[in-house]
Symmetry: C2
Subunit: 190 residues, 2 copies
């Protein structure tokens, strides 16, 4: 069974025939590890669905350090939503963390898809609702927790994530240096 | 002209007749200043649309201090999305900042609305997309800017907001004490 179909089935009711048509609006893209899909300064044309693998979104801060703000693993979407819906230049980069298999759609094609398959409005509504709910909680954590507490929270809630993602990227996500992350890990082990 | 109709017209095409039916799914609620609509520990049953006025969402941190994570002025929605979609207990409070006029809907009624008027799936998809885009940018600011820079950014981008919202709530939103906010304001004026 196609993973995207299994994923859609969690949100909407869609027949095999309709699914074949829905899928035809997407481009299947295979990327190697550390391949950049979107560059800072480029118009953000597409949304990326991860069928297999992992992508990350990051910006380069004033000190020239990469700051990761988001990861997307299987069954998650990733883009710069603000730039995508306005079709303007992004200030983010999107890069593969692992060799990945993606479904890619651009705004114009997405509009055609939504016109032909209105049930996909419901799907995307639920996806954005879920994403927004996650970001509301994340904003609260950013207020509430120290960086160290965020790491502990993260490694307790998502141990598979800590296992899977290279340590220097977890550091980049939490705003640590890799050295500081090693220190925290050593402290927590002791 | 009804403000909710004017708002909907920005996202979807809807006739007067259909609008009358859509509106019938909502409850119009008038609240005074500082009235609590949702309490921490209560099941989050509703979403709130601000027709007039201002609401805020906050939690009480470990030190017993109210931390505001979100404001909603005219034409914005507010709820604890995570708790709302699961119909579980919230860990937030929602309170009016000003005397406000609201449209309120609960999850079950919203489902009936979406079933009867599928065009509202498109509307909510766009609303969540916009909200998610805003939160993506906000998360970046939380990584990138000091609290003081956030205040400067805020007051440059949204001067009307700084004018409108009581200073102790802006402090609560930025994670300052009201005294520290006064200091920053004095420093910026000098």
């Amino acid at each position: 069974m196609d993973t995207f179909k299994t994923h859609l089935d969690k949100f909407i009711t869609i027949s095999e025939e309709e699914y074949v048509s829905v899928l035809s609006f997407f481009e299947v893209v295979e990327v190697k590890k550390k391949q950049t899909l979107l560059f800072d300064g480029e118009v953000c044309k597409s949304m990326y669905f991860v069928s297999k693998g992992c992508l990350r979104k990051f910006f380069v801060n004033e000190k020239g350090v990469e700051q990761t703000t988001e990861f997307a693993v299987e069954n998650w979407w990733i883009t710069d939503t603000f730039a995508y819906e306005r079709q303007i230049k992004t200030e983010f980069n999107i890069q593969s963390v692992e060799r990945s298999s993606l479904l890619v759609i651009d705004l114009e094609t997405q509009e055609l898809l939504l016109k032909k398959h209105p049930v996909m409005e419901r799907y995307f509504r639920m996806i954005y609702q879920r994403a927004y709910a996650a970001s509301e909680r994340r904003i609260r954590y950013l207020y509430e927790m120290s960086r160290e507490e965020l790491y502990v929270h993260f490694s307790t809630q998502y141990p598979w994530f800590i296992q899977r993602i290279p340590q220097y990227l977890i550091a980049s996500f939490l705003g640590f240096t890799p050295e500081y992350l090693s220190e925290i890990r050593a402290k927590l082990r002791s």
